[in-house]
Symmetry: C2
Subunit: 202 residues, 2 copies
DNA sequence: GGTCTAAGTAATCAAACGATAACAAGTTGG
DNA sequence: CCAACTTGTTATCGTTTGATTACTTAGACC
């Protein structure tokens, strides 16, 4: 039973961002179809009809979630690109920028859920466009060649998959999981485990 | 309007396999939550209650679908492993075996949909176990080292993603898509495009 | 301090879905 | 040939869900 009475008022813009963050987490966990507008509302601390009225439809909300996720991702890449202070190689800096997106829950996973819905007319089109936007950034702005991009994206998709699988769940019980995770998230295994713990308990 | 009258009888075993094939395609396209038992029934040419009664629940059906998909995948890998006649390197043979699973629609994609539902208690557990079964096959039976397995799985997850995105849809209109596809499916681009066409038209 | 707008809720609905129950028609074995 | 089991269907039900409508109330502004 949720006590829903007083609720401090916000301007629509703030509330919108708050709901988008909540929705990112929910869609990341349950997927586009599996997530309900009531789940999102609960996570955001507002009523279900308010979520729908603010975004029009669940589909529109999901589109805004994945567009926001793409903006965050590309902004992270741009920062890694701009930061020439460190002597770390570009490809590695970009990889770290990618993994750091895990700190906000659902950013990478809601994208991943969109990526497997290519046959959905509206979402599919948006997902392809978003994916290729990342491709072009890596290819043109970051200056990767085609093979580098392919390799980078492949590693990213494996990371998404392992996060989607909640693989950290089995880290302690299965040495093969440990081996794989240490290979897939170099230097970031502890962060990933910590975040998984927080999500499970909290 | 479906004409549903005469329907030649089958033994339950055959009908089961037929439904599992149909369900593989439907789950691959729409995902676990998005696919309905009525969709599966329509694709299999039987009534919706029959699907439910044969498999108990939709969840159970999905579990059988992904277990079957895993069996097909591992059988394909085993064949590639056994076929020592060709002079093609093992890693490449395994890659071809992977891509050839695309010939049956939904085998790789239904697995992919399972892989992003790690938080679902039952499906998540099965998905992790299945993924690690593949990992162990590559690591132990195929003799890959950890980095090789990571690289192989990463390429596989990128392939899954691009198929899930229905990326072939944009092959003609976007030269970057063409570049990426030629990098991700070496020598198999035409097959992928052909299968995508069949799925779109048929 | 009253008023008017923007921020929110409660109540409710129609559609879709998974599941169940009850029934029909082949097929097989004695 | 008929009884019994298997293969299948039609009809229907209770929930869940996204969406709509109508109502409330906080707070900014004159």
């Amino acid at each position: 039973m949720t006590i829903s009475v007083p609720l401090t008022r916000m301007k629509a813009g703030e509330r919108r961002e708050l709901i988008l963050r909540a929705a990112t987490g929910v869609f990341g966990t349950s997927g586009y179809v599996g997530a309900t507008t009531a789940d999102v509302a609960r996570a955001a601390g507002v009523s279900q009809p308010y979520v729908v009225r603010m975004f029009g439809t669940k589909e529109q909300l999901f589109l805004e979630v994945i567009n926001r996720a793409l903006e965050l991702l590309l902004a992270g890449f741009q920062s890694a690109l701009d930061d020439t202070s460190s002597d770390v190689a570009l490809e590695k800096r970009m990889g770290l920028a990618y993994v750091n997106q895990l700190k906000e829950h659902g950013v990478l996973l809601s994208l991943m859920h969109a990526f497997v819905l290519g046959r959905e007319p509206v979402i599919g089109r948006a997902a392809r466009a978003g994916f290729m936007k990342v491709y072009r950034f890596l290819r043109e702005d970051a200056g990767f060649d085609a093979a580098q991009v392919q390799n980078f994206l492949a590693s990213g998709m494996l990371i998404n998959t392992m996060i989607g699988l909640d693989m950290a769940e089995d880290y302690d019980g299965d040495p093969d999981v440990r081996e794989l995770m240490e290979c897939a998230f170099p230097e970031k295994v502890e962060m990933v485990r910590e975040l998984a713990r927080k999500r499970t308990e909290g």
